[in-house]
Structure formats: structure tokens, C-alpha cells
């Protein structure tokens, strides 16, 4: 089994807010991430797929196709967007790094051809990242 990782960056804004919390609870739980006009990050996305190496091509997966899938399914939807208002998954769910990683997994998992999705890693900052392995 060989693991291949492709990186991409996207820039997006978001805020953390639960409409069922009081303003005080929102402030206490989310701190500065609850600032009402939002804030932004340069996110780094790492998509790791796994599979056997194809003996003819030497590939685990055709990188051109993986790039296209990542652009079409994820980057076009999230890059340079305000996640809370413009990405369907986050209209009613907080765009935390955890939920972003899970949403990206769900967008990609069924769209890969020869390889299987192993891990989605999302860096919110260089010092904070989330891994999702598709576990329930």
C-alpha cells in the first residue's frame, strides 16, 4: 500500500457562532473566534490517498485527476469565500477546522477513481490542524 499526499491552499473567512447559545455563551466558548464580522485564514489542505501502484503507469493515482477533483469539489467552493454564508455545509453548522475537514472528506470520498481516500488534513494555521480518517 502506498500513500500519496497532495497539498493545496485556500483563503477563506469564517466565524464561530451557535445561534442556540446566548451571546455570553458564544463569547465564553469561542472567544475571539466569535467576533461578529468574522476573520480569515490561509488554510492548507492535505489530501492523502492510498492504493497499490499501477504496474503500467507507476501511479497510485493520476495526479492531474486528483488535482481536478480537489479544485472542482473543494477549492472552487471554499477559496476566497465567507464559509458561514457561501458554503452549503456551513449554513447550519459551525465551520470549525474539524467540520471543514469532515466536509472536505465527504466531498472527496466518492469522487476518487483508482485510489481510496485515507486522510484529510486541514491546517487552520501552521500550529493548528485537524486530521479526519473517515471514522464515525
Amino acid at each position: 500500500m502506498v500513500y500519496l499526499t497532495r497539498k493545496a491552499e485556500f483563503s477563506a473567512s469564517h466565524l464561530y457562532h451557535n445561534p442556540e447559545f446566548t451571546p455570553e455563551e458564544n463569547r465564553r466558548v469561542f472567544g475571539k473566534c466569535n467576533n461578529p464580522n468574522g476573520h480569515g485564514h490561509n488554510y492548507t489542505l492535505e489530501v492523502t490517498v492510498k492504493g497499490e501502484v499501477d504496474p503500467r503507469s507507476g501511479f497510485v493515482v493520476d495526479l492531474k485527476k486528483l488535482k481536478e477533483v480537489m479544485h472542482r469539489e473543494v477549492l472552487d467552493a471554499m477559496d476566497h469565500r465567507f464559509l458561514n454564508k457561501e458554503v452549503p455545509e456551513f449554513l447550519h453548522q459551525i465551520p470549525t477546522t474539524e467540520n471543514i475537514a469532515i466536509a472536505i472528506w465527504q466531498r472527496l470520498a466518492t469522487k476518487l477513481e483508482s485510489a481510496k481516500l485515507h486522510r484529510v488534513r486541514v491546517y487552520e494555521t501552521p500550529d493548528l490542524f485537524v486530521d479526519f480518517y473517515g471514522e464515525l
Binding site: V29, I94, T96, E98, D131
Partner: protein, 134 residues
Amino acid sequence: MKAHLSRRYLFSASHRLHSESMSAQENQETYGKCNNPYGHGHNYIVEVTVSGQVDATTGMVCNLVDLDTFIDREVLARFDHGNLNTLQEFAKEVPTTENLCIQIYEIVQRGFPQAHLERVRLEETMMNSFEYAG
């Protein structure tokens, strides 16, 4: 849905690798430059990975402020800008990054119940890192 959250922290500390149970020559052969008598320092990066169910109301595995506060108080305050060899924690063991990694793991394991601790990774330099998963 279960996710793994990792957070990285920087601290700077000095140490010297020297074992009382070895002769001077053995120490020199085992540790090389790391045995230099006045010690030397590193900017350590500690990466803590916790896992758990993503909370439906907060969207988080655990509250980062809780984790940051805990690490600040129990790890960084203990080791940052210090000399590891002078600490009680290393009275009886060599302050290699392996041993430091295990110490930090045990500190977090004992004192942070809000999420399951998966591993602690410690980068000593850009070229060396160590992981301990219990």
C-alpha cells in the same frame, strides 16, 4: 464523527546529555557533541494530538482555550527558558528528547481529560523529531 486535533507549541530550553552510569569516554562516544560540558539549547516544538467526537453544538473535539491553558501551565511554564538538567523531572534520567517527549505525554495524559490523547510529537531540530503514543 471522530476527528484528531493537533496543536503545536514552541519552547526553548537547554540540556546536556550525560549519564552518571557511564565513564567520561563512554559519554563522549555515546553522546558526541551533545555531551559538551556546558550544555546547548534547542527551540523545541511540541505537537499534541487529541482525538474525540466532534461536538454537535461547538463543532470542536475539545476547546482550544482549555488545551492552550493547560499546556501553558503544565508544560511551557515547567520547561520553557529553563535548563532541563536542573529540573526534578530529570534528576534520575538523561534529558534526551525521547525522555522529554514521554514526560510531556504523561503530564497531558494525567491532567487533561477533555479529550483522548493520541500522541505527543517533539521536534528537537528541523531534522529530528520524536513521537510517543503511550
